[in-house]
Amino acid sequence: MAKQTLPESQVGVVSYPREVAAARPWSLAALRRRLATWLEDERVLFVLLVAPTLLILVAFLAIPFFWGVWLSVSDKVVGRPGAFVGLQNFFTILDSSIFRRTVQNTFVYTGIATIFKLVLGMALALLLNRHFRFNRLLRASMLLPWIVPTVLSTLAWLWIFDATYSVLNWILREIGLARLLWQLGIAPSPRGFVWLGTPGLAMGSVIAVNVWRGFPFFAITLLAGLQTIDPELHEAAEIDGAGGWARFWYITLPLLRPILTVVLLFSIIVTFADFQLVYVLTRGGPHNSTHLFATLAYQVGVISGKLGQGAAISLFMFPVLLLAVILQLRYIRRET
């Protein structure tokens, strides 16, 4: 709409007649009138409306980002000002075997967990897309792992994986599998596994919990996508003799691709930068076999107080995250 299409007398608060305002140019009424006119300017209003958002994002996002870049090239530790040390921190980190292990862990964790979340999420979405009793109830309760506080539900998993009282081991013992696995040399004792105390198994357990928490998100968003697909497409294909698998591959999957890509990239970002699961379940152990970038950064930057090195470890995530964000942006732009 063009600016100032209204007669001036109608702009703003009509209860302040012109004469009054003109007689006392600095009266409250005149100021309010002036403000009202001013607010009709789209540019002024725009700046005013986005100002609170910008203020918060600059203070607590942009400034910390640049402060983090500075920290990463300084030798700052808690309680002492830091000095510029160039790329020293990055070299120290790259030299450490713990960090190299962390890089490997993070990619394994993100890769495997994402594949499982995608497959299970898709399967559940396809199941929930059918008509059956209690569909709505089931759909709602399936999202529970995703909505409750992650650390709290992870505590339940910590208890499920307990070294002595693990319910998984209890089941294995009851059905006689624990003894068999022990005799085959797979389990370390007839009492079952030490889920979180064995390097490979610990990573597997952490991934399982991540999948448990994340796959409902895939399922619900993919279900929303499935519901937009016209059933007539499937009926037509069925008449043409296409089987269930062919219809999934040539109709469902291509039509789901937009939402699938967005969800996938979103999930990769979150999984890659994960912290809570590992912090509660293993704190990065045993022998650093489950450390991720974020838990290592916490360990070095907060627990050991080496802020410079901690900030540098966090920043190592930046290139991968940036790539994911750029892909996401390009994809959304193309869609809209």
Binding site: F60, G68, L152, I220, L307, F318, L321, I332
Partner: protein, 280 residues
Amino acid sequence: MAVRQRGWKKFFGFYLPLLGFTVFTLFPFYWMFITSIKPDQHLYNLRISPFWTTRPTLEHYQFLFQRTLFGHWLLNTLLVAVVSTAISLFCGILAGYALARLRFRWAGTLGTAIFITYLVPQTLLFIPLTGVVDFFHLLDTPWALIFTYPTFLIPFCTWLLMGYFKAIPRELEEYARIDGATRLQAMRKIVLPVAIPGILSAGIFAFTLSWNEFLYALVFLSSPQTKTIPVGVVSELMRGDVLFWGPLMAGALLGSVPVALIYSFFVEHYVAGLTGAVKG
């Protein structure tokens, strides 16, 4: 998909997988619950079946409220979640409206920038952010969280509400303006009421996100009585080598119930927020 299947095929292809998903998804919650009501002598007895208890007790809940600061943590979490959600909704409504409706040279750039901040994980910036929060003398106060949670809530609210505002016909506003309303009046009286479902979705989603946040609360808060539930339960109840699983599970369950309740009342809004947040 109206595929008709009968008998065993439907059982193995449909009901069994569905049952598997249900057990996998809900078992940890059942486990939390049953652990929280078992007396200790049953909890740590390997000879009896762990799946139910013959002597349910509320002693762990009693312990939680009488011997720990759980009540404080509950109030802190509520305060932080409510205030940070209110701030984020306020900022998100204004910014979302501006980006969806007003013509401005950098509107597109700003929209993109806000979308990017939406994708910044907390783990990227928590160390330098601690320095910034310390600079404002906010460490170990609820304000540390109230001011920092909006960094991930506002982008989400803005992005979600932009979609709702764009869907409202411009004509509605223009009629109001012809009748003499100012832009702000038109926004408050015409656009906002129509966008209420979107505002509700954004608010519910933002509330649960801030209720669930862990890392910032872990790093910014140090004294036991200022903590939120996730941090309080994990750091204060997990001291030493011996863990008291009864109170731990009672705390985990009670900390999950408020979000689960809100969610169950507003499932459709929540899912709209979820899918809206992804689609943008």
